[in-house]
């Protein structure tokens, strides 16, 4: 389990005034390179940023994770939840770089996305900072192990400390 999250989001740091709305939970500098498609990435030996579409097989990236610094996962529609699995698989396979949700990202989805390992968001529509804070602080606990460091209720009940694993 990697915990590479900072607790407070930063705004559109490091981007010009024309930058799109941007929410980031990492302390390192954002990757400047444009993300390329999975096919282009697999074909180019030197790309460091890749963009996953819902139909792509995330696992094709696994042999190359050591050279990736940014993975963008596109959510073309609100209801297409494949990106949640893509993110979690990358974290389960040890990916520690930036994992950015782009596209149809609404405030009501942020908490689930954080749990699946996303640590940056580039929503199509800007998010209100107060709404973001409320949404991320809404639920006091979680019921299952995912790609974040939250300790599930069933472990809390049996005396596990924060950061401990189930099993």
């Amino acid at each position: 389990m990697v915990d590479h999250t900072s607790t407070t989001p930063s705004g559109a740091e490091g981007r010009g005034p024309e930058a799109r709305p941007f929410l980031r939970f990492r302390d390192d500098d954002p990757v400047g390179d444009p993300a390329v498609t999975v096919n282009a990435f697999l074909g180019q030996g030197n790309a460091t940023a890749v963009r996953i579409e819902p139909g792509d097989d995330t696992r094709e990236l696994l042999p190359h994770l050591d050279r990736v610094a940014l993975v963008e996962v596109n959510f073309p529609t609100l209801g297409d939840g494949r990106g949640y699995s893509a993110a979690r698989i990358l974290r389960e396979e040890g990916y520690t770089g930036e994992l950015r949700a782009v596209g149809n990202v609404l405030v009501d989805q942020l908490a689930f996305m954080r749990r699946c390992g996303f640590d940056a968001f580039e929503p199509g529509e800007p998010l209100d900072a107060a709404d973001v804070e409320a949404a991320l602080g809404r639920f006091p606990h979680v019921y299952q192990q995912a790609a974040d460091s939250a300790v599930p209720i069933w472990s809390l009940r049996h005396g596990k400390e924060a950061g401990a694993r189930n099993g």
Binding site: P54, R157, H158
Partner: protein, 544 residues
């Protein structure tokens, strides 16, 4: 029964506040209906033909007396004095105002209930055997496992935007009373040759427009890998289930198109990967849950003889009780299907009475059946007559469990915006017809199920006799189906031929039962006779 601890309560309370806030934003106009829709659907609030409908989750159908009481209070306070029990062991209110939705959820939360994930493309309320913990034939009580799955699936971060809704049923006996193989995942708890408990997984069943019976995907999942295996089944579906066509998006289509073997191979690979992630809850949690479902305090009774001198009571005992695992006890079914009534509806007064009877006679517990009736699971045989007398006074002692008038019917065109035809009046006319002609009592077990459209909420595919409402050139029309079963001999019903109008379908049902009566061999149910003689004699009589 399971009781919330501080964690469960905190989660449900947080949800109430969140939804209250969302409703307020909608009422203030800050949210459009388009923006509000996915949010309200996560909380079981549908916009129907005349009003909002609220669906409340009843995990594995189990309710305490206090919970049944609050459901009655909600019916009085916010609805028109009644509620509707559904085939998914839940309860629905048909006349809800948006202004009240937050208060209703708060009332529910005060008795450890909620409406979370009762709609939307997520893992829905987990259903189970309504005789769980009581049935003589179960290997264990399936509900601790259903509760484990309920908690795992609540607010699941990866599986809240699935291709389509996802329904799980858990049973633990060779007799299937929960239509297990007609669910997206059906789990049957079994013992292996070493005597250990584990779970057989059936994946890819369902009704709707393309009914399918779930194939077995794994014979035995050890109990300490249950959640991990379920997670693997769901992940393969979330990644590869079809999203291009709403009607092909259920997991049954994926399993069918891949084939059970290829789906199994993918699940097993994902399972291997997830085992290494250590996502399984500690075994101590399962043990904690099992304790909630232990012996409620049964007395050591001698096997009791029931006094059968009152013939009406004796008939009710024969039809509406089910063998209990403990001597001197039985499970009693309260029928919500009076002749001419609306299947599954109960008034607030009836709900309060059922709540009080559960407290007095059944260790404070009752169950909702998928057949839209209520069970008092643990009644002393010595108390049966007193219980029956009180039920009879309230019009709740109809002796018709699994008889032709124990009809499952969906809300249909009287409430539902997707309906092609009305279901409720057809159910009412059929039960009146068979009461009037006296044939109802001669038919034995006959399961009749009615859906108002192809979505099959009324399980018509699984009816010994099924009725499906269709739209024929703007006129309500009904197709007749024969030969379905949702029990351990699961089968899908077949359409007899051209449809009928409302009176015609009532006649057609009577004709089908006449064919049965003329052909039945000793001890045969309608379904057995149909399976033996086939469709032809029925067609001949119907269309001849």
């Amino acid at each position: 029964m399971y009781r919330y601890d501080q964690y469960d309560q905190a989660m449900v309370d947080a949800r109430v506040e969140e939804f209250r806030d969302q409703c307020q934003r909608r009422l203030d106009g800050q949210l459009s209906e388009d923006q509000f829709k996915p949010l309200r659907l996560m909380n079981g609030l549908y916009l129907q033909l005349h009003a909002y409908m609220l669906r409340v989750a009843i995990p594995y159908g189990t309710l305490s007396g206090a919970q049944m009481h609050i459901l009655a209070d909600i019916a009085d306070k916010y609805d028109r004095g009644y509620a509707h029990f559904t085939t998914r062991q839940n309860v629905q209110y048909n006349w809800i105002k948006l202004e009240d939705a937050g208060d209703i959820l708060a009332d529910l939360a005060s008795r450890e209930m909620h409406a979370i994930q009762t709609s939307g493309n997520c893992i829905r309320n987990i259903s189970s055997d309504h005789f769980a913990g009581a049935a003589a034939d179960e290997v264990c009580d399936p509900r601790p496992y259903a509760e484990l799955l309920r908690q795992w699936s609540s607010f699941h971060p990866e599986f809240s935007y699935l291709p389509r809704k996802f329904k799980i049923a858990v049973i633990a006996s060779p007799t299937d009373r929960a239509a297990m193989k007609l669910h997206d995942i059906g789990i049957n708890l079994v013992r292996n040759n070493e005597g250990e408990l584990g779970a057989a997984f059936y994946v890819g069943g369902g009704m709707g427009r393309t009914p399918m019976i779930a194939p077995q995907i794994r014979e035995f999942v050890p109990l300490d890998q249950l959640i991990t295996y379920a997670e693997a089944c769901l992940r393969v579906y979330n990644r590869h289930g079809r999203r291009d066509n709403k009607y092909k998006a259920r997991i049954k289509i994926l399993v069918h198109e891949l084939g059970a073997d290829e789906y199994r191979r993918q699940v097993e690979a994902e399972f291997e990967h997830l085992l290494a992630q250590k996502i399984e809850p500690p075994f101590a949690e399962l043990e904690r849950l099992c304790e909630f479902f232990g012996d409620p305090g049964f007395e050591n009774l001698a096997e009791a003889e029931i006094d059968r001198s009152d013939p009406e009571f004796a008939l009710w005992v024969d039809r509406n009780t089910h063998p209990h695992k403990r001597p001197g006890y039985t499970s009693a079914v309260i029928s919500l299907k009076p002749v001419g009534g609306i299947p599954g509806d109960a008034t607030a007064a009836q709900m309060r009475l059922m709540a009080d009877l559960a407290t007095q006679y059944s260790f404070d517990e009752c169950r909702v059946m998928h057949t839209q009736n209520i069970v008092l699971p643990h009644v002393r045989k010595a108390d049966l007559h007193a219980l029956w007398t009180k039920l009879d006074e309230a019009g709740l002692a109809t002796p018709n469990l699994d008889q032709i008038d124990d009809i499952i019917a969906c809300p249909g065109l009287d409430y539902c915006s997707l309906a092609n035809a009305r279901s409720i009046p057809v159910a009412q006319k059929i039960s009146q017809r068979f009461a009037a002609n006296g044939k109802g009592d001669t038919l034995g077990e006959l399961k009749l199920k009615i859906s108002g459209c192809i979505n099959a909420c009324g399980h018509h595919h699984a009816g010994h006799i099924g009725i499906l409402g269709v739209d024929r050139k703007g006129v309500e029309n009904y197709q007749l189906l024969l030969g379905g079963s949702e029990a351990d001999d699961t089968s899908l019903a077949k359409i007899t031929g051209p449809g009928f109008d409302e009176d015609g379908i009532v006649n057609a049902v009577e004709t089908a039962t006449d064919v049965y009566l003329a052909n039945r061999a000793d001890g045969e149910r309608f379904l057995d006779t149909y399976r033996r003689i086939g469709m032809a004699p029925f067609k001949e009589a119907l269309y001849g």
